[in-house]
């Protein structure tokens, strides 16, 4: 009985939180129009969280190697757009309720696409499955290019857009997280994990491998599709270029960087990776972006390589107490920063290096790439590994002042 009370209370709490947040953001935007940018970032972040967590269900929890998640995102977006364009005018629902319909439509369409791709997972393993999912994305994109009624390369306009849909995006993200988390704690979810760990053994134990795999694909892609539909309705225009292969890779990276199978990891990594290219937009002084000279760049690169090497060695080979280990790492990172400044000053004396400058904005994608490589080198198992970040762990960490995750 008690569990139901908890459930209902958490649902109510979530709803209050989501609508509160929406209310709060709108209030902010109403006071200061320029915060609309933050609102937009929040929406996109929510969508990426959904995408990452839903791919984690396929990739991390069920262990099916899918690298074409953007295709489901795209199917959902186009389904939602077509649905809105054809039906919104003649139906009685208000713009808010319509969001549910659109999300559902996108989810159904992407779920069907997921079923088609998922059926391949029955016969294909590992990288072969990966390339099929990737190929599916490319095929969908090229088909859209060639269909004038979907707008071709120009994209599809959505006449009745709803750009106040942060709450729907957040609800979707939370729903996605909840479904994945709760799944892992039920016997059904154990079947998923079993398939990941050993397909043959799990089928010997009576797990219906076929059903598990296809379910994972359908559920994962349905969430991605719902996210796509919400993106379309939020943006008012969708173009095939938004769903390029690199978006698939970005989502995959979020999953792996967070730790395959860790939902909290996916969430954190999604927020991190999504935001990194946006940071340089804030690195502006008096309207002028920060300038990076060749000297700083070279010094930074050298110090980064050295400190990554040292950090990695400390993690792998130092077996002293945890506290000293942490201190050492902090020391190395600090040393790296100081070294960059010092070396940068020295290199600044060389005119060739000092005179070549770039806007920090032009380095956005390089930052992303470097972050990826460095994080993977230092923590190959992902930020959270296979583990979840729970409240108990947080309490423990707070109480003892030690990081909770301990890689084995």
């Amino acid at each position: 009985m008690k569990i139901w009370v908890v459930r209902i209370l958490s649902i109510i709490g979530t709803l209050v939180a989501v609508f509160g947040f929406e209310f709060f953001m709108r209030g902010l935007v109403a006071q200061d129009q320029s915060l609309d940018y933050i609102y937009r970032l929040a929406v996109l972040a929510g969508l990426f969280v959904t995408l990452a967590v839903s791919l984690n269900l396929i990739n991390g929890i069920t262990g099916q190697f899918s690298i074409g998640h953007a295709s489901f995102y795209m199917v959902g977006a186009y389904a939602g757009a077509t649905l809105t364009n054809s039906l919104y005018k003649i139906q009685p629902l208000g713009p808010e309720t319509w969001l549910f319909v659109v999300a559902l439509g996108g989810a159904v369409a992407a779920g069907i696409a997921g079923l088609i791709v998922g059926l391949h997972s029955l016969r294909l393993k590992g990288d072969y499955l990966a390339i099929v999912t990737l190929g599916f994305g490319e095929i969908i994109r090229i088909i859209v290019f060639n269909q004038p009624f979907l707008g071709g390369s120009f994209g599809l306009n959505i006449a009745d857009k709803n750009d106040k849909s942060l709450w729907a995006v957040l609800l979707l993200a939370i729903l996605c997280i909840a479904v994945c988390r709760n799944l892992c704690q039920t016997p059904h979810g154990l079947a998923f994990l079993a398939v990941r760990e050993d397909e043959v053994a799990s089928s010997a134990m009576g797990v219906n491998v076929t059903r598990v795999k296809v379910t994972a694909f359908i559920v994962g892609s349905a969430f991605a599709g719902a996210a796509g539909a919400l993106l379309g309705v939020y943006d008012g225009l969708i173009t095939p270029d938004t769903f390029r292969m690199d978006v698939s890779f970005l989502i995959l990276t979020m999953v792996v960087l967070g730790g395959t199978g860790s939902i909290t990891g996916s969430v954190i990594a999604a927020l991190l990776l999504f935001s990194i290219p946006e940071w340089p937009r804030f690195m502006v002084e008096g309207g002028k972006p920060w300038q990076v000279t060749g000297a700083t760049l070279l010094a930074g690169a050298i110090c980064l390589i050295v400190s990554v090497y040292l950090v990695k060695r400390t993690i792998d080979e130092y077996h002293g107490p945890q506290r000293t280990k942490t201190l050492r790492i902090v020391g190395i990172v600090g040393g790296g920063i100081i070294g960059t400044v010092l070396l940068g000053t020295v290199f600044g004396l060389i005119p060739v290096l000092a005179n070549r400058t770039w806007d920090v904005g032009a380095l956005r994608m390089v930052f992303l790439a470097v972050t990826l490589i460095v994080l993977m080198l230092i923590r190959p198992q992902g930020i959270f590994g296979h583990e979840e970040f729970g409240w108990q762990k947080a309490m423990k960490a707070l109480r003892f002042g030690k990081p909770g995750a301990n890689p084995t």
């Binding site: 990739n59 262990g63 099916q64 190697f65 391949h120 016969r123 294909l124 393993k125 590992g126 990288d127 072969y128 990966a130 390339i131 099929v132 990737l134 190929g135 599916f136 490319e138 095929i139 090229i142 088909i143 290019f145 060639n146 269909q147 009624f149 990941r196 760990e197 050993d198 397909e199 043959v200 292969m245 690199d246 890779f249 995959l252 990276t253 792996v256 960087l257 395959t260 990695k312 770039w358 032009a362 380095l363 994608m365 390089v366 992303l368 790439a369 470097v370 990826l372 490589i373 993977m376 080198l377 190959p380 198992q381 992902g382």
Partner: protein, 394 residues
């Protein structure tokens, strides 16, 4: 349904052009195959999809470009009073530099990005590979020339074409065409007397206009006759340079085959391919084998890069490796990833398939067809054409 089927309405099959399209496909396929070999070899020893391989190809393009510049083949150099001339030695130097630079880059990437990840899960190495690929693309953008670059057409000394006639058109038709084209030529000469070449209608005298009007009629006539001759005969036109490209690709593949089958390194590679752990237990220096693998695979990408950018004149940008890289990767999977003859077969098959899709009039779907074929083939042979499917875990 009509909308979806609309592209099919434009279907066309000109069987006279089929041999030409097959040849086109095989030539393109040989480049795919060269790059696919790099993917497949690395996969064979490390079970890693080397996503940075396309970027190694891109660096090979730039290496060839800069070598050609160093030898004087720049835009200004070609307009100089005495422009440099190209011969087979020039091409060999470019080929060598490109292969050497690519091997170096490949080995460096392996040493610093992949080796530290060797004992980690494969998906982690995959993400590192994506990171390296992004770094090379966007980092390259900071330092390389901002505009797209091309290797000067003059670098390729074999620009003339050879024609291979498989079926002659009727002699009468050919004669008719010859007369028509002679008449056309005469009118052209007449026009050239009256006006400078390339003159516009608004710049012509009334007399010249009259001549040109006649010329246009004659051209239409000779063009339609040419079309008839084309339809009635079957022939293949190949640029000599592309034949050389194909021959070079074949030679490189034969050398590779020799290395893999006949040398000690090759045996070690095959051993590592078969079973990484046992090989290292049996005394195979796994690190060295992996270095060699990256070296050879990257060198082949470098050769492909040099030949593609010289003989096809393709644009060289920091993103040049993305499209070709993906296609080559598909080719490798198609043939059975990890399997060397499979990569060659997959590459050629893909080149031919793409040509045939264009041939039937679906050029808009050219890039999709590679994946469609892949999916269809994988449905029947889950391990690719020549590969075997084993259970793997991600």
């Amino acid at each position: 349904m009509d909308v979806l089927l609309s592209p099919l309405a434009g279907l066309q099959m000109d069987f006279g052009a089929l041999p030409q399209q097959l040849v086109n496909g095989i030539l393109i396929g040989s480049i795919y195959a060269l790059i696919a070999l790099g993917y497949t070899m690395v996969y064979g020893v490390l079970r890693l999809i080397n996503f940075a391989h396309g970027e190694v190809f891109m660096i090979g393009c730039y290496a060839a470009l800069f070598t050609s510049w160093a030898m004087g083949f720049t835009a200004t150099g070609m307009q100089a009073a005495k422009p440099p001339t190209s011969n087979i030695v020039t091409l060999l130097i470019m080929l060598f530099v490109s292969m050497a630079v690519c091997s170096l880059v490949g080995v460096t990437i392996e040493r610093f990005a992949y080796r530290p990840m060797r004992n980690q899960s494969r998906i982690a190495s995959l993400i590192t590979a994506i990171g390296v690929s992004l770094l090379l693309q966007f980092g390259g953008q900071l330092f390389l020339p901002p505009l797209q670059q091309n290797i000067q057409a003059e670098v390729n000394p074999f620009r003339d074409t050879i024609s291979l006639t498989l079926r002659q058109a009727p002699a009468s038709l050919k004669q008719e065409f010859k007369t028509a084209s002679l008449a056309q030529k005469a009118a052209e000469e007449r026009l050239a007397e009256l006006a400078p070449p390339g003159a516009l209608t608004s710049e012509l005298s009334p007399e010249a206009l009259e001549v040109r009007e006649r010329l246009s009629e004659l051209t239409i006539k000779s063009n339609s006759l040419r079309a008839q001759v084309n339809d009635a005969s079957v022939f293949v036109v190949i640029q000599k340079g592309k034949l050389i490209m194909f021959a070079a690709a074949l030679v490189l593949m034969i050398i590779l085959r020799h290395i893999v089958l006949k040398t000690a390194t090759g045996r070690a590679m095959r051993a590592v391919n078969h079973d990484f752990q046992s090989a290292s237990l049996m005394g195979v220096n796994v690190n060295r084998v992996i270095t060699y693998t990256f070296m050879i695979g990257s060198a082949l990408a470098g050769a492909g890069a040099m030949m593609n950018s010289t003989f096809e004149g393709t644009a060289i940008t920091p993103f040049a490796g993305v499209a070709l890289g993906v296609k080559a990767f598909v080719a490798a999977v198609l043939g059975g990833i990890g399997n060397i003859p499979g990569a060659v077969l997959g590459g050629i098959l893909m080149g031919v398939a793409e040509s045939l899709v264009v041939w039937v009039g679906l050029s808009g779907y050219k890039d999709a067809i590679a994946f469609v074929i892949l999916i269809v083939i994988l449905l029947f042979r889950p391990g690719g054409l020549l590969g075997s499917s084993a259970v793997e875990k991600v």
